[in-house]
Symmetry: C2
Subunit: 413 residues, 2 copies
Amino acid sequence: MSLKRSVRREFLKRGAALAGGLGLGAAKPAVGQTPAPGAFIKGTDERVAYGERSQYVTSTRIPHGGRPSPDAFGLDFHIAAPLQDSVGVITPSSLHYVGTTRGSFTPNIDPAEHRLMIHGMVERPLIFTVDELKRLPSVTRMHFIECAGNRANRRHTTVQETHGMTSCAEWTGVLLSTLLNEAGVQEGGNWIVAEGVEEVKGASSIPMSKAMDDCLVCYGMNGEAVRPQQGFPLRLLAPGFEGILSVKWLRRIKVVDQFYMTYSDYGHLRQDADDAALSLQIGPKSVITYPSGGQQLAGRGFYEIKGLAWSGGGAVARVEVSTDGGRNWTDAQIRGTAHRMAHTRFTLNWEWDGSESELMSRCTDELGSVQPMRAQITEYWTQRGQPGRVRGQDNSIQPWRVESDGSVHNAIT
Amino acid sequence: MSLKRSVRREFLKRGAALAGGLGLGAAKPAVGQTPAPGAFIKGTDERVAYGERSQYVTSTRIPHGGRPSPDAFGLDFHIAAPLQDSVGVITPSSLHYVGTTRGSFTPNIDPAEHRLMIHGMVERPLIFTVDELKRLPSVTRMHFIECAGNRANRRHTTVQETHGMTSCAEWTGVLLSTLLNEAGVQEGGNWIVAEGVEEVKGASSIPMSKAMDDCLVCYGMNGEAVRPQQGFPLRLLAPGFEGILSVKWLRRIKVVDQFYMTYSDYGHLRQDADDAALSLQIGPKSVITYPSGGQQLAGRGFYEIKGLAWSGGGAVARVEVSTDGGRNWTDAQIRGTAHRMAHTRFTLNWEWDGSESELMSRCTDELGSVQPMRAQITEYWTQRGQPGRVRGQDNSIQPWRVESDGSVHNAIT
């Protein structure tokens, strides 16, 4: 393949940068020696049962935007994923972002006692136990969830702060359409209200067209049960729509005739069509995770630029990368399968010459929608008499500035 | 889609079995009530940083085959994944099977001190730090790893005992070919010996054709760093080949001229071509995970049969399921994308009439190779004068017997 050849040529060209530093004599060879007996993790019954990560891996979630957003109990209820350390497209369940409508007290639900009720404008109201749901036809799909509040500003320093309120997992469950068809939606049942087990019930209103299209009632996530912070034992998933619609600790779906304003719908009662069109569905979006703000390049030479792209409109079709602040763009490589409404890993080989550079990525989805520059969004709202207003999803292009000393900074102005 | 319609018809047909039991009045409705304040998991800084699973989810790994195989330190070094609880295709990293050549003392490696050396019959011997590897072009791929010892026998009671020594993860790393091309393989360098950090060095010999095809040097697994039990910070992955060749705690790759017998190659010095052909690459394989041995059906009615299929020969092309001990076969549905050398989830809608049934699944891979019946394998070896001998991979079809009381049992005779 041509990649392999070009990579080899690039490495060989690099001279002192990387290849030179990798010469046999240049590094401390820890290889070839048997480690001392103390250098082992002792096996325990617990570690056999359910393994842990290395003590040297300290990547953690942080409060959204780097600033605590305490609830009435003084606890954070918006927690961002460490995208700067991400590899591949899966977010580990332990590091998946968390947003709750209010309160970070996670419901501690015994699944044997939990029920899901389907009622309202249906022919046959139904109640399912979790075990009964697991008997029904299932699907497994990769999907991202993103909080509508996942917006970058110039005060943010890292990609965890600018973009950490999105994550991606392998979700397993039953299509909501399977349950609604079984219940039998009555004529005029045009919306659903989905309610979870939260102090404020965490309800959301979703159009029936979306509910019957691709919404899932999930019991599985990344190969095991949905985690408590993600809605154990049941989470509604509304793929590609803003995260608040993916109701956690799901206990009730009521078929109704119209949009109902619930606690979690505070952002969804639209005054105008522009707002509505920009609100529910996440636009085409991407961000470079390496190199990103707060990281430090070791010196000039070869680097693989890595990032994540996603869209609520379907699969990512194309990602372009610029290393000169948007003057020139190069097609990045999509790594692995670009699943619909899922994080997609992109990469670009880059030879850094040591000069100041501005890195950007731009996503185009399968509908042909293209991620906008921040200036375009500003112009859009300025033309509508609301300069500087952030509304709907902010899916604008994120710039990172690489200084000549190798430090990387948020370049939003 | 026709599935939805047929599913609905099936549910409605079920009468007392499932649909009846789901009627609104029949269940204890825990829905609609706000839980007591004590029913919450209190948020802690630690849980914010790195989340945990529910206290009600107790699925764990067990010693392989259900019987401890203690090493010199009295610890188990073959640990099986709980496939009976699996959803989707990813195995959570905490539940990924573990096999080590000897000793369950997991190396506790500081990645900053770790090196990977490429040497032997190469033009330019190289040493890489982990950070240097992360600068190189990466790939992300779903791949299973399976231990050659993943064999079922009639004493096993659950799918964890019969098949738990296989797992699947999203792996991220550098193609080994990228590193070997950079080092420059000399004429006659036909094999590699890959060595890890273990008491016995955990070395394995791999043909150069495989090394240059699709082997990976992985630093990422399921979206985070490779776990210590899986080889942190670096694991060699030889997709589709038996697990012992996917060397953990990788520190050295030596290009050599021929097969070298190392500690981990004890099973690979072949006396004959039959053995060799059946040894390195995992054949087409599948197993039903639900219903499976030790599980209990709640009564007659609708069930979705769920299982996993995989092959070392490439992607799973087809899975058939029999509910009558192999007399009749029906095509199962493949759920999600059938990746090459990866677990693939299959399902089949099943209306259980309450009579004794024998469930089987049969995998065909993209090469057209078909998973054999146990009787075929027995006949193969009997014809070669070795009746009853288990050699190479055992990829035979696993039968589960559902008794009329709903209990499920291993049906190997």
